[in-house]
Symmetry: C2
Subunit: 373 residues, 2 copies
Amino acid sequence: MELMQLEGLDKYELDTPALLIDLDVMERNISVMADYFKGVKAGLRPHIKTHKTPIIAHKQLQAGAMGITCQKLGEAEVMATAGIRDILIANQIVGACKIRRLVNLAKHANVIVGVDNLKNAKSLSSAALEKGIKLNVAMEITMGRCGVEAGKPALALAKEIVKCEGLRFRGIWEHGAGWPDQYTKFEDRKRVHTEALKPFIETKDMLEDAGIDVEIVSGGYTATYNITAEIPGITEVQPGSYVFMDRAYKALEGLGPFDYALTVLTTVISRPARDRAITDAGLKAVTPESGTNYSNLILPQVKDAEGIELHLLSEEHGWLRLKNPSRNLEVGDKLELIPSHCCTTVNLHDRFYGIRDGKLETIWDILARGKVT
Amino acid sequence: MELMQLEGLDKYELDTPALLIDLDVMERNISVMADYFKGVKAGLRPHIKTHKTPIIAHKQLQAGAMGITCQKLGEAEVMATAGIRDILIANQIVGACKIRRLVNLAKHANVIVGVDNLKNAKSLSSAALEKGIKLNVAMEITMGRCGVEAGKPALALAKEIVKCEGLRFRGIWEHGAGWPDQYTKFEDRKRVHTEALKPFIETKDMLEDAGIDVEIVSGGYTATYNITAEIPGITEVQPGSYVFMDRAYKALEGLGPFDYALTVLTTVISRPARDRAITDAGLKAVTPESGTNYSNLILPQVKDAEGIELHLLSEEHGWLRLKNPSRNLEVGDKLELIPSHCCTTVNLHDRFYGIRDGKLETIWDILARGKVT
């Protein structure tokens, strides 16, 4: 109904703050990534925590992705409800309530869940047996966050998991090897990520030598997609942010093929001084961090404007500092902000406004927004 | 239905992350603030951007508040729908779409809207006339963010607003005078806030001398509630965070009467190293900033635990550093986090779980969550 009223509206006519997708750019990002993976052995398993929206996940699958990655069980439930079958939950699912939900979900989709702890694995196994299913699990190898240590500890845990009658051991995965997004230069990221993945790949070999099938060897993210994918032994890669890009990722060398598809449309609501304009998008409409790197902030950027700098986000307002601005700013004028961190910004909004050639084409509810459990 | 199933559940049985309210503490915070205002001339107009939930606003009104403050038009719409009549929108409402919504809302509640710009005032006036109403406006006097300059510029604007036939000039308001929450000591806050409010109060006098009624003189927030309220001429104060409190406010001397009522319940999902535990609450479940002060972060604190420090929030995980921890932490254990900034944390969640004596009493949807427009 609402879309029927609004379709074809110029994007600058939308009420603000509004989360816009440039559909042409997003579709190009999706196909550029999918095309890359057509040329390598590893598969593409995009992380949907970035967009949390089934139609975008379906577009990624149609372009060639082998399945999707989720972070939260609630995201996986939304995606399964939207007909998506192959879902890796790259996280530990802990606690009686969640495990019941997970096992029920596994009756409706091909879910593979992370595990790094024997007690948890046994709880998963019991719950699966009770429901008469086998639950797919993949063991997380730690790169400094969650996970079991590579090498012997991983082998010991895998041997125990294999004994769990309710589980089917599918492989291993990692997140963050070398934390390469700290490094702007491609060659630096390649060196630290490749080095950090060595014990991961060695663990795969060690499990196979022990007679354990390791069908899935999954890892990487947007910052490393074409590094991870080319490491022998890797079977799939989990990039998420490429679909929209953001300031943090665009700062990295080697991500040139992907462009900004996501912006926050905002209105100038006050012009209290010659060098200051205040907009209606604050911390509740766009996030000020770039992942874990919130001690060294890259704030959102004003698109297509010189001399207009967003220098502060307060709870409800964006503070612009003007210095020989390339455009005049009056109360009521609208600007687009390029987010610092697309994933956490998307999670603030209830819907995307899909724009093509400057006009509203579609509205998509962000169905897994706020699905933190 | 869900509440019927869950009522009486021990809070540690809830699935996580979950946003908990300690109802006894919240009710005490509400009554402590209301009782303070019974002893002063100024009225209490709590800011509901903190909780975004009608039932809590109604509790504040029942305790003695004269009305509420909102930041966003969408919040005011939710509150009016829930039967709340007296609403100050302490913000500029700009743009044709929002102005139409505002004027329609004003038919259903006693809305007073901020204004700091003549062109916007004229648009508001025209829209009101078209609907056959008079719209209440209150002029924002700038303290460094939005607003018109105190003194002559304010007088000049007020004279023009008074001429607008669709508007009823109700008074003035401010936000942030002296930005006193930078100062921990009460006496420092009192000094800078009182000093910064002088031109604000002088503006009131100047308008009255010019024959303009200034019925509303509104300002202040939790950090200054008992400073602002005692300044002669102030008619009402707009504290928000006192209802829940948070780490940023609790660090301020003089806010002792208010206690932490809000926590994020989180589960340990991985214990990858002796000194590291990882939980399921990251940046999408609790915010890392304290208002504008996100360059000097106070991270959320683990409640009732020594030697367990949250030192990093990544997108989906909380990273705990353990150093002689007062309690053992195993996978599946639950902890409560005290947020750094209650307002932005609430905005991430869809519901509150109301807890009394450790048991679930009620579930409240956060109806104005995400109402950024």
